[in-house]
């Protein structure tokens, strides 16, 4: 599955890029599995996701939990807890 990944704030800084297009293997089915797969790809991802419970995710502009399915996703975002307002 080809999907666009976008990163924000210190997750973006740690990964080293604001976005990328990834070819995700078919067996990677959930957000949590995607995080594990990314962490296996390089140190920058291992660093960005070192505390898995901290980084939040959204699929196609909607907040999701780690067990959310990736099926049909066009854009998956990873970011720290929000600090707007």
């Amino acid at each position: 599955m080809q999907v666009k990944l976008v990163y924000f704030a210190w997750v973006r800084e740690r990964v080293g890029r604001p976005d990328e297009t990834a070819e995700v293997p078919a067996e990677v089915a959930t957000v949590a599995e995607l995080v594990r797969w990314l962490k296996s790809r390089g140190e920058e991802y291992a660093y960005a996701f070192e505390n898995e419970g901290v980084v939040r995710a959204a699929i196609d502009h909607v907040h999701v939990q780690p067990d959310a399915a990736l099926a049909g996703a066009r854009e998956i975002a990873f970011f720290p807890p929000m600090t707007g307002g």
């Binding site: 976008v6 924000f8 704030a9 210190w10 959204a58 502009h61 909607v62 907040h63 975002a77 970011f79 720290p80 807890p81 929000m82 600090t83 707007g84 307002g85």
Partner: protein, 153 residues
């Protein structure tokens, strides 16, 4: 109900927004506004930089507004959230609610701020008075607590 949501770099004029919310209407009894401003933290900060997730920011504010509209009887609702560099004393966010009675206007404005703080994809970074770029602001646990209290209502 009038619904205005803006995610923008520019500053905004609170009086203009209140005027737009109430323009041409004579059935509104209460308007509550919340304005969030950049503090200098006792001189430590030169500015706050706000990063945002364009597209999702607007969508999430719209979802939060929709939830407020379903919970309370509102005649109008405005949310403006800035991004980019904001100097101390400048505004970051405006929430304005209009209703027949004050209870709904107050509750909806507080709800919007509590939810927006924990759900709207914005991230603040400090720029220090000595010229250095500071750290990303950490999310406050009390903001999660504030947002959670609305879930049982």
């Amino acid at each position: 109900m009038s619904l205005t949501i803006h995610v923008q770099r520019e500053s905004f004029d609170i009086a203009d927004e209140i005027a737009a919310l109430t323009a041409g209407r004579s059935d509104i009894g209460a308007v509550v506004t919340f304005t969030g401003l950049c503090r200098d933290e006792a001189g430590r900060l030169a500015a706050l930089e706000l990063e945002h997730y364009a597209g999702m920011a607007e969508a999430e504010l719209r979802r939060v507004a929709e939830e407020a509209r379903q919970r309370w009887s509102l005649q109008g609702l405005t949310i403006i959230h800035r991004f980019g560099m904001v100097a101390p004393g400048e505004t970051i966010v405006l929430v304005a609610t209009a209703s027949v009675h004050r209870g709904a206007a107050f509750a909806a404005a507080e709800f919007l701020m509590d939810y927006l703080k924990t759900r709207a994809p914005f991230w603040k970074r400090e720029h220090l008075a000595d010229g250095r770029t500071g750290d990303w602001v950490e999310a406050a646990a009390h903001d999660d607590v504030a947002a959670a209290r609305w879930r049982t209502i």
